[in-house]
Point group: C2
């Protein structure tokens, strides 16, 4: 036995009276082992409770069977769902997950990326710094397969899995307009936020296409509840208030709903309201919130699948993966009008 009482491949070899090479082959299911020898080795390994040492195996086989996941944070529903999706695929393939968060700071993320050397076979990265020139290439080992998630990339060095925010916003606008709304205001998201910008672009494009001549009506927000409340209050001050409000995310829609309730307005009778994301709360508020559902877990699962494909395929050229399509969820805050066309 090795020091510390752990069983090594040598112990198994000695006990089974074969060479370590044979033990290794038997355990790894190689073809070139006599059937009876294999059985005997397997049984010996089991009896000794032998468990291969992962670091040693990684070092010689140059494969770790683990995938690194580098995220800004591990907190909250979004990342939780993302990890769930990633984990589901990983388990199915017998891969381990090395998760790493860097809590915002750019230098922290560089370190997190560099520390992955020798620990993982590939990397899933969600990063706001990804579009900084050289950031990825400076910190990532060359040749390591990487898939980016929900990230704007300056070039196509790595495949990216995004959400089709533009298409989702278009779909919501089609729904609202189909339900008869014409004066539709939009509550925007934080400056520089990619998701928010894409959703706003979808709003504008829908107006241009479906209600030509209508002016865009956009109030600022920053994705939190308070900003949604403020936006809602501001909208009610307009001489002619909107007949529908589309918030760039659910949390702001919830704040907006609160403002409408405070003002004594009835949603959707007096004013319709829609969000984006389908947060868990969306189905619990009154009225329940019409929104675009994004399956974050699916996003994670797709990214993982793509990464595993890339790891196995080696350096094949990669077609850009399809973005994830959000799904319209019609609830009570913005119902489909009787007889109107379903979006």
């Amino acid at each position: 036995m090795g020091r510390g009482g752990t069983i090594t491949i040598k112990d198994v070899a000695r006990e089974a009276a074969v060479s370590v090479a044979t033990v290794s082959r038997a355990l790894n299911g190689h073809e070139n082992v006599a059937e009876d020898v294999r059985r005997m080795v397997l049984e010996t390994a089991k009896r000794l409770r032998y468990q291969p040492h992962a670091a040693a195996r990684s070092l010689s086989s140059r494969s770790t069977q683990t995938i690194g996941v580098v995220l800004p944070d591990l907190y909250g529903e979004f990342f939780s769902e993302l990890i769930r999706g990633i984990d589901g695929v990983a388990r199915g393939q017998g891969r381990h997950l090395l998760v790493s968060s860097y809590h915002g700071a750019q230098e922290g993320q560089g370190a997190a990326l560099r520390a992955m050397r020798g620990r993982v076979d590939g990397l899933l990265v969600l990063s706001p710094y990804a579009d900084q020139p050289g950031f990825l290439t400076d910190n990532l080992p060359v040749g390591l397969p990487v898939v980016m998630i929900n990230t704007r990339l300056p070039n196509d060095v790595y495949p990216v899995l995004n959400v089709d925010n533009h298409g989702g916003a278009l779909a919501m606008m089609r729904h609202l307009i189909g339900a008869g709304h014409r004066r539709i205001a939009f509550i925007g998201g934080p400056q520089g936020n990619f998701d928010a910008a894409e959703r706003e672009r979808g709003y504008r494009d829908a107006l241009a296409e479906l209600l030509p001549g209508t002016r865009a009506w956009i109030v600022p927000g920053n994705f939190d509840e308070a900003s949604g409340m403020e936006a809602g209050t501001a909208l009610l001050k307009a001489e002619a208030r909107p007949d529908a409000v589309f918030a760039a995310n659910d949390v702001m829609a919830l704040g907006c709903l609160f403002a409408f309730n405070e003002a004594g307005l009835q949603v959707p009778r007096d004013i319709a309201l829609a969000g984006f994301d389908d947060v868990p709360l969306a189905r619990f508020v009154h009225p329940t919130l019409t929104t675009m559902r994004i399956s974050i877990a699916e996003l994670g699962a797709n990214a993982m699948q793509r990464l595993l494909h890339d790891i196995q395929a080696g350096g094949q050229p990669w077609p850009e993966p399809d973005p994830l399509t959000p799904e319209l969820v019609v609830r009570n805050s913005a119902p489909t009008r009787e007889g109107a066309v379903r979006a």
Copy 2:
């Protein structure tokens, strides 16, 4: 350079014109390196973008700088919060996190535990199988530091971080009784669930101590919303309904609240209601829910701290860690009575 274009310690040594031993010492901050040599090595390593190979380092140093986290699942708020707490401490100490979920099946967990060999310096485990004889010892390398989380253990082989569910239930009962309630019903949790059993025990002990002679009034539940609804409906059918209901968790309390609303009862005027956990929804429902808050992130952080201590301390004897104390959160569903003593 090594194959694949990666830089190894040899490359740094050659470039710096010293031995690999010196490079290793300089990089690891050992004392016995001349200051100018160290500077030169560090600079060379930086210039070459050298990053030590984690597996190689682990193999020779017998330390991985990573902590394994084995959970039943990665899904939902509980595990998300737990991981957040764990991650916070891990980052502070420069440790990586290898997370593993086994989705319920016992065999899956055994495999997850065994696969940790050579990957981690210690393990954080949350397991419903932990009290099965031999389960832990059969699957865990001897000598590997382990801390269990929220687990009932047959003996004290490993330290356990638990939540003081019994004390929490006592505190809630003190609050309800202090608010003047006398007919307090309890909605129980799933059979065999440790948390649920402890909370029920707290309920019973509080009755025995504070309202001697009162019979316990317990309706079954299984922690989900539907069972809370059923329990609430059942309670209203009693000839004399309770004046307060204490549900073993918030989700059931929410279901119960729904049942009361349906029946036209006003909470808390007609009947008070309390839960346990402080889920995010608790502050959004009407009326807001009085409950016991458990800081799951703190539970995770404490467990991680303890584990790191054990890793560093070697085989010291471990005092059982203190359980986490839940905190009473008084909201509108069960307010403190005017003039009543605060719990």
